[in-house]
Symmetry: C2
Subunit: 148 residues, 2 copies
DNA sequence: GTCAATGCAAACTTTTTGCAACTCC
DNA sequence: GGAGTTGCAAAAAGTTTGCATTGAC
C-alpha cells in the first residue's frame, strides 16, 4: 500500500530522467508524507534536511511538476495560501478544510460518490476528485466560535 | 429579489462609513452582477467606466472587504487564479468550475444539501457554502478531450 | 474641521521562467 | 561529452499595507 521512494526514483529513470540529490530527497519526502498535506515550502524544508544542503524553490516546483506529469501527484487547494500536493495513490478520501484552524479532515469517498454520480449524470460534469476540497469550519472551531 | 445598489449605499451609511464616487460605482457594479463571478480586476474595470475615472486596485479590495464584513459579499475560489466575489444573497446554488475552459455551472443547492447535512451530522463540519466550489471538467471539455 | 477613504508605491506570497553553470548517465 | 538539472535572479499574478493627500459629512 505504501509508496516507496524507490518507486518514484525508478519512475524517473524509466521516463529517461535523471536522479539527482535534490530529486532523491524530494522522492523520500513525498513517499513518507502519506496522510499529510505538504506545501512546496514544506517539501523544500524537509528535502533540504535530508539532502544536507539547500534546494531552490524552483527545483522543488519543477520536480513536483514532473511527478504530476508522471501521475504520481496531484495538487490540491485547501483554501487560501499555498497549494499542497497529494499522492494520487490515496484517492479513497476527500478533504474537509477548516478555514479557521487550517486543519483538514479526511472523509471516505463513499460520502461523496452519490453526489458526484448525480453531477455526472445530470450535468455531464466530471469532478476532479483530487483537486476537490470542501471549505468550512470544523467541529472544534465551530464550537469555539459559538461559545466565547 | 434583486439587490439594488441603493441598499448597499445605505448599508455603508448605516455603518457610519462614507459614500465616495468609487464606492458608489462599485455598489452599482456588484448590485448588477447577479449571476456573474467577477474578479477584483473585473469590478475595477466596470467601476472605472461607471465612475468615469480611474480607481485604484487597493480601493477595490478595501471596498470589497467592507462589503464582506457587512455580510453582503463572499469571495469564492473557482480554481486557480484570481478569486471572485459573489452576493451572499444568492446562496441557493453552488458552482461547478471547469478547470479546462474556466466556465462555471450553477447547480441548485438541493443537489448538495444531503451531503452537507451528512457532513455536519457525522463530522460536525459546517460547510461554508459560499466558499465552496467543485472543480472538474464540464461536458463539453470532457467530450473534446476524449475525441480528438 | 475631522476623520475616513483614496491613490500611489512598495511589499508580500506563491509560482514561473530565462539563462549560465553544473553533473548525471 | 552532451543533454538534462540546478541555482540564481528576475518576473509574474493577486493581494495587502504604509503613508501623505484628498474629500465626505
Amino acid at each position: 500500500m505504501h509508496l516507496e521512494a524507490d518507486v518514484l526514483v525508478s519512475a524517473l529513470q524509466s521516463a529517461g530522467m535523471r536522479v539527482t540529490t535534490a530529486r532523491r530527497a524530494i522522492c523520500e519526502v513525498i513517499a513518507t508524507s502519506h496522510a499529510e498535506h505538504l506545501t512546496a515550502a514544506d517539501i523544500q524544508a524537509r528535502a533540504e534536511t535530508l539532502a544536507g544542503g539547500s534546494i531552490d524553490p524552483s527545483t522543488v516546483y519543477r520536480t513536483l511538476d514532473v511527478f504530476q506529469s508522471l501521475g504520481y501527484l496531484h495538487h490540491v487547494h485547501l483554501g487560501h495560501g499555498a497549494g499542497v500536493v497529494h499522492l494520487t495513490d490515496e484517492t479513497d478520501h476527500h478533504h474537509l478544510a477548516c478555514e479557521s484552524c487550517g486543519q483538514t479532515l479526511d472523509v471516505p469517498l463513499d460520502e461523496f460518490q452519490p453526489l458526484f454520480d448525480r453531477l455526472a449524470r445530470t450535468y455531464g460534469f466530471v469532478v476532479d476528485r483530487a483537486h476537490f476540497a470542501v471549505v468550512g469550519r470544523c467541529r472544534a472551531c465551530e464550537q469555539t466560535e459559538n461559545s466565547p
